[in-house]
């Protein structure tokens, strides 16, 4: 959950790890990691990444994401 967990060496590396964590979270790329983690916890076999992303695409198709002026 926390940014840069495990990378406690140089402050620069910590900042970079934080930026990477943030960008992956913001773009939703980390959703796959969360899913794998959840499957492992619940003892389920995860679907492939392709199937997973396809599923997310299909869901996005039904929703509207508003964008402002």
């Amino acid at each position: 959950m926390s940014p840069g967990a495990g990378v406690a060496t140089a402050p620069v590396r910590r900042v970079l790890a934080g930026v990477r964590w943030y960008a992956r979270q913001l773009s939703g790329e980390s959703k796959w990691d969360d899913y794998l983690e959840r499957c492992a916890r619940e003892g389920r076999t995860p679907m492939t990444r392709r199937q997973f992303e396809r599923h997310r695409d299909d869901h996005r198709e039904q929703g509207t994401q508003g964008r402002c002026c």
Partner: protein, 728 residues
């Protein structure tokens, strides 16, 4: 270390908890910030006729934002709304892994900011710079603190307490059916105007500019490439493909420079009319294509560009430390005769700078979308209030960029072609009648520096791009003015095209949903004829308004921008009316002024502006007076400048009449909603309190820090909670 569950600092903070005292160090820091803010404001307000650094605007803004966030938003969170972290949020209660999902507060802040900020806060302040730097600065900062950020935060709170319902649903349930229907129509109509005006800004920036057409046009294949890459080549690798996309974008900008001097320049020199058709076709296709192909990848690009450019602009401003070229307050503010848009400071400044100070559109994001992802109630303060402060900062940066441009050049760029004749000589002559001087040679030199014609490039985007190019060239070394100019144009166009894609889709869903009430089949979003039909209606509506703007001999921006600004502020009035209604129904009479004061101000501003736009007998302001003037002239067989023939006379008459009717309808719809709400206010005042649709409290299990930076205690509590969760 063990933490008692009932006394967890983050999970169990009750609204009644005793207030913590500030330490002497904290007092010194806040005192220091207050002093910096006060000095900056004094420099801005008291300097007359000497060089004023733009950094004073920046510091005045930043100091005011931090103080407002620390004190006013905390007051609203604790005393007024009584945010309660013991209550579970919709994201926790209704978690479904897709829409409703507990999200890290900092990530949600980014999502919310990306959703609310677009081209609006970049355009309005640039146009408002015709009144000087001071009025715009004051309104952007004071407006956001007491109106804009309050609206976003309060609407987000009420939606969060109602299972993340949308603004429209809340109005129907809390105010009444009449208000609900009026709100539905108003939101759709206002969205159409918004899309038309944003599209007009892009068209004006791309017209007759092969460089812009090339680089902005290439964003479509770049987005398509990203879409296919994510779908088939490497699913899910968003960061990787966004990196590739950004590199391709930069190459597209550089490539545009080559195209500009090559044989491709001529076929890519497009008229505004051609671009209008292209944009309408694009908007229709984009809204019916699967979202993974175009919309999603474009969204990644624009989100990361948005954040990157804003950081770059802040750094650039500090490095360049430019001097303001504008007067504090120009004569146009008092006389209302400015060429960029007509009308006096009151009320027209407050509708020109809409986004950045108070934006009704945010209420659509603050209800529905964002509340589904809030982890804790306390995050409403950070995401709602804090997110809007960031948007306001974008507006301040845009205002600075417009105010560091030479005034002669500013007016040469922003006066309609009807008065400048579109030539450097004509522009130089016209600008001198305004009391500014710029020679044709100086204008030509400015054009050459960015390799783009600059006379009468209205719409705000070219002006902002020129200002950004000045600042970046100064900050990061020279020789790249033309690159930075087109970089800034691309940046704005990217926002706007994303808004056009997404807005058309939202409009399509709204229309399908509404018509679906009478004809259920039409509401099925997967039924192609309905999807295509609703898309076509939406695109047709904004496309028509765009065409009206493009062909208007009087200049589309100065005709349509007031309509857009008033529409946006009327939507804010609708959102604030809902907020006041809910305060009354909850019986929070002591604090009802928190949304009521901005509502009263907003109604005074927008209804005055609407009244003037409809009833003013000054043809420069009143739409109908304008139509009458041209009609009378046509009947007498005269052709009035800037129209050049009878056809153009007809265009002016039709356009002004359409604009006037739209203007009047918007104001009427808002009056209907306010009248309906007033009935509820009276009823609530008699009863003291009325039942609302707020859902009952459910205890929250989640532990998370409250604010941007977690305290030591909060970190410990989160760690403890995560250990517990793993164990169970």
């Amino acid at each position: 270390m063990t933490t008692d569950t009932s006394a967890r600092p983050s999970g169990g903070a009750s609204p009644d908890a005793p207030r913590t005292r500030m330490s002497p160090l904290q007092m010194a820091v806040w005192g220091g910030i207050a002093v910096v803010g006060a000095i900056s404001w004094a420099m801005l307000a008291l300097s007359r006729g000497e060089d004023v650094s733009a950094l004073w605007i920046l510091f005045a803004a930043l100091a005011s934002y931090v103080i407002a966030y620390r004190f006013y938003s905390k007051f609203i969170a604790g005393r007024v709304l009584r945010l309660d972290d013991r209550r579970a949020t919709p994201a926790e209660r209704l978690a479904d892994g897709t829409d409703f999902e507990v999200t890290d507060r900092r990530v949600l802040y980014g999502h919310h900011f990306a959703a609310i900020a677009g081209a609006g806060p970049l355009v309005g302040p640039v146009l408002a710079a015709q009144m000087g730097y001071l009025p715009g600065t004051i309104w952007i900062i004071v407006g956001v603190i007491f109106a804009g950020a309050v609206q976003d935060m309060v609407v987000m709170f009420f939606s969060m307490r109602r299972d993340a319902k949308s603004l429209g649903q809340m109005i129907r349930e809390e105010i009444g059916t009449v208000g609900g229907i009026a709100a539905l129509i108003a939101v759709y109509a206002i969205m159409i105007i918004l899309l038309a005006v944003l599209a007009l800004v892009v068209v004006n920036a791309m017209a007759e500019s092969p460089w812009s057409v090339f680089s902005i046009g290439l964003t479509i294949p770049i987005a398509l490439f990203m879409g296919f890459y994510l779908r088939y080549l490497r699913p899910g690798r968003v960061m990787e493909v966004t990196g590739i996309g950004v590199v391709l974008l930069l190459l597209a900008i550089i490539g545009g420079g080559w195209v500009d001097g090559s044989g491709l320049a001529e076929p890519l020199t497009l008229s505004p009319e051609t671009l209008t058709i292209a944009l309408v076709v694009y908007g229709f296709v984009a809204s019916i294509l699967p979202v993974w192909m175009l919309l999603t990848p474009r969204d990644y690009l624009s989100t990361f560009m948005k954040i990157g450019v804003i950081v770059l602009l802040a750094v650039g401003l500090i490095l360049a430390a430019p001097v303001l070229q504008t007067q504090a307050v120009t004569d146009f503010a008092v006389e209302g005769t400015g060429p960029v848009f007509a009308g006096k400071l009151f009320p027209f400044l407050f509708i020109t700078i809409a986004c950045g100070a108070l934006s009704g559109f945010h209420a659509l994001i603050s209800s529905g979308t964002t509340p589904k992802m809030l982890a804790k109630e306390s995050h409403v303060r950070m995401v709602g209030y804090g997110g809007m402060l960031m948007e306001s900062f974008v507006a301040i940066s845009a205002l600075i960029a417009a105010c560091v441009i030479d005034q002669g050049l500013y007016f040469a760029m922003n006066s309609p072609a009807g008065v400048t004749g579109g030539t450097v000589e004509g522009a130089s002559e016209f600008v001198s009648t305004l009391g500014f001087t710029i020679t044709p040679d100086q204008l030509a030199a400015a054009s050459a520096s960015v390799e783009e014609e600059l006379v009468s490039r209205t719409g705000g985007a070219p002006t902002l791009a020129f200002g950004i190019s000045l600042i970046f060239s100064e900050a990061f070394g020279g020789g790249l003015s033309a690159f930075w100019y087109h970089f800034a144009i691309m940046f704005e166009a990217l926002f706007i095209l994303t808004a056009v894609d997404a807005g058309t889709r939202v409009g399509r869903f709204m229309l399908q949903d509404t018509i679906g009430n009478v004809w259920p089949k039409f509401g099925d979003t997967s039924w192609k004829p309905a999807a295509w039909g609703a898309s076509a209606i939406t695109v047709g509506a904004w496309g028509y308004m765009l065409y009206v703007g493009v062909t208007d001999p009087l200049g589309g921006i100065n005709q349509l921008f007031p309509l857009f600004g008033i529409a946006n502020q009327l939507l804010a009035a609708i959102a604030l009316t809902l907020a006041v209604t809910l305060f009354c129904k909850h019986g929070w009479w002591k604090y009802v002024w928190v949304p009521a004061v901005p509502l009263a101000w907003d109604l005074v501003v927008t209804l005055t502006a609407s009244y003037q736009k409809v009833f003013s007998d000054n043809p420069a302001i009143g739409y109908f007076a304008q139509a009458d003037r041209y009609r009378a002239a046509r009947e007498a067989g005269d052709v009035l400048a800037p129209a050049t023939d009878l056809d153009q006379m007809g265009t002016v008459i039709t356009n002004s009449t359409v604009n006037g009717i739209l203007q009047a309808s918007f104001a009427l719809l808002v009056l209907v909603i306010v009248a309906n709400a007033a009935v509820i206010w009276v009823r609530a005042a008699r009863a003291g309190v009325l039942p609302t649709t707020e859902v009952d409290a459910t205890p929250s299990e989640i532990v998370a820090p409250k604010d941007f930076i977690a305290t030591k205690e909060e970190k410990a509590a989160v760690a403890e909670w995560e250990r517990e969760r793993v164990r169970s």
